[in-house]
Symmetry: C2
């Protein structure tokens, strides 16, 4: 599972939770439905702006943070 695929899933889950369709979210974010579909399904390498427009609508924000140390014994 790549990072892009994870982000796609988060977006899809968040949209489902808001009970809106891909078309509705795409229109609200002012991006093509095809673009949103590809991002949700992990097939895209979206631009920052596309990602930001979507996350803005969904009440999410994109942040940069210092990477946590990987714990080899972590269960998840």
């Amino acid at each position: 599972m790549t990072a892009i695929q994870q982000i796609g899933r988060i977006i899809q889950e968040r949209r489902d939770h808001m009970r809106i369709t891909q078309k509705q979210l795409a229109d609200m974010a002012d991006i093509g439905i095809n673009t949103l579909y590809k991002i949700e399904t992990g097939q895209a390498n979206p631009t920052f702006e596309s990602l930001q427009r979507i996350t803005d609508i969904l009440g999410l924000e994109i942040t940069l943070q210092v990477k946590k140390i990987k714990d080899l014994d972590a269960t998840s």
Copy 2:
């Protein structure tokens, strides 16, 4: 200050802190120096992959999180 500009500044600060040049970081991340320059100076709308390659080298990670409520009285 846009989000893209903020990210550029974070990348630049992090790189300076690591004491490496744009050229060195660009080579390590396997992206063009021009691309890195534009991202650092807030002139780019980078793809997720470009951003990720850079942040990987810098020990940063891109995350999506629920937006915090804006406090109108916040000092910063």
